[in-house]
């Protein structure tokens, strides 16, 4: 896949923008690259999100990998101030888990090449 590293950066950019717009003060980002797969873990510490927000995030991130959408529109990810591109991120990843653990929001994404 072309521009793999840049695409990973933009995915993280989009999610970071979303969390910062929601008032994040502390965010941990971890990337692990194992063979053909890249795993992104993002933890927003000490936050409050309601169940509706979490469900919406899960729904948009689990839109299903769509290579034809990614192939055309990937350069728009993370480019807008309003962070409305979550379902585009969803089209660029294979699996997504979103959970509140105590007071921390955990986002775990897997993207295969």
């Amino acid at each position: 896949m072309q521009h793999e590293e840049k695409k990973l950066t933009l995915i993280i950019n989009e999610l970071l923008t979303l969390l910062l717009l929601n008032g994040a003060e502390e965010i941990d980002v971890n990337i692990k690259r194992k063979g053909d797969a890249s795993e992104i873990t993002m933890i927003h510490r000490q936050c409050k999100y309601d169940a509706k927000f979490i469900e919406k995030m899960k729904y948009n991130l689990n839109t299903q990998r769509q290579s034809e959408v990614e192939g055309y529109y990937w350069q728009l990810v993370g480019e807008d101030d309003s962070s409305n591109e979550l379902h585009l991120v969803g089209a660029m990843i294979d699996t997504a888990e979103v959970d509140m653990k105590q007071n921390d929001l955990h986002i775990f994404l897997v993207r295969k090449k």
């Binding site: 896949m1 072309q2 509706k52 469900e55 919406k56 899960k58 729904y59 948009n60 839109t63 299903q64 769509q66 290579s67 034809e68 959408v69 990614e70 192939g71 055309y72 529109y73 990937w74 350069q75 728009l76 480019e79 807008d80 309003s82 409305n84 591109e85 379902h87 585009l88 089209a91």
Partner: protein
Amino acid sequence: MGFSITSEKDLSRVKKLFILLSIPVLFLVFGIGAGIASKDFTDILSGLVDINLSPTILITDFIKIGGVEATFINVAIVGLINIYFMFKYHLKINGVLIAAFFTVLGFSFFGKNIYNIFPIYLGGYLYTKYQKISFKDIIVVIMFGTALAPMISEISFSGILHPAAAVSIAIITGIFIGFVIVPLSSHMLRFHDGYNLYNIGFTSGIIGTVLTSILRSFGITVQPVHIISEQNHSIIVVIVIIILIELLFLGLIINRRAILDLPQIFSYKGRLVTDFTHLVGYGVTFINMSLIGFLSLAYVLLIGGIVNGPVLAGIFTVIGFGAFGKHLKNSIPIVVGVIVTAMFFGYELNSTGIIISVLFSTTLAPIAGNYGAIVGFFAGVFHMILVTNVGVIHGGINLYNNGFSGGLVAGLLIPVVDAFRKE
């Protein structure tokens, strides 16, 4: 906000594909049926040949060139080819694919035919082989990318070169377009940040300007033409209404609450990528497509316009993008801006050129969606001013001239509006 579409029936991919398939089949049945009923079938075949051998430069209405029946069959053939690719490559029937499909169908009434789209598909296929990626990854771009199909027809059939050389050069040019359109179109998104829905129109305008300039450097002039059907055919209006009613009923069958849920769609700004099939479901999406399609058709008929090839392209494109960013709330301010400007400059609102500018101006719907009705109105004003002037730059070889103009308007207007915004 549409994250849980519990009231919607689950449709398989094949069923969704059948819904799309019904449209070219409808045109095929009407084309063949009307041909058998009204005239010698050889007239239809010669009409199809005329369509495929015309230079197709803006504006060439296939209804004028080959007749209604042959045009219907051309639409059906182009539609069926694209359905085949969707089936073969197991594409998800999402908003962008629906938009691309309806756009290609619409432009098969003026500009696209089997001869001039083929080299662009081949160029795209060669690009995927070169990059070692699947053709599936780029098929949407290639479907939209046939905007430059007239370049192939113009080189082939305008008489500027010896016929054998002309066809060879034309096909090589088409392959080149298909090869470069994917990286270019993706890159061009950043110019307007996704606020111009017809991004390939902007990309094609840039490529078309370069290619036309090369031709002009060799002393070859590419001049826009004006071959337009000036007669209304009731069968065309009937078919469009059948398609819109089909979408309406399908929307209600898929989601009985679709009309009640429709206001949800107005909360979306429409900026690329806004896939309504994902965000609000297929039921609401089909109702939205039907609604803006009916209003587009009603507008054309009420002002006394002709529903000819270019106008059909406009209506079908609006219907298609009803699945991918356009709704009444973000489209109306743009349209009002275009109409007011056209009236201010004394243009006839019922002329085909102005009607298609009004319909296609909704490419800028995301501006009204994001920045409000007033900024949307002014986007429409600037679009009207630009679209009547930019066609000459590419000589009419870019079918999505409004997408070219829309890209320029969005790329210039958005940073200026942002400059006046405060934190």
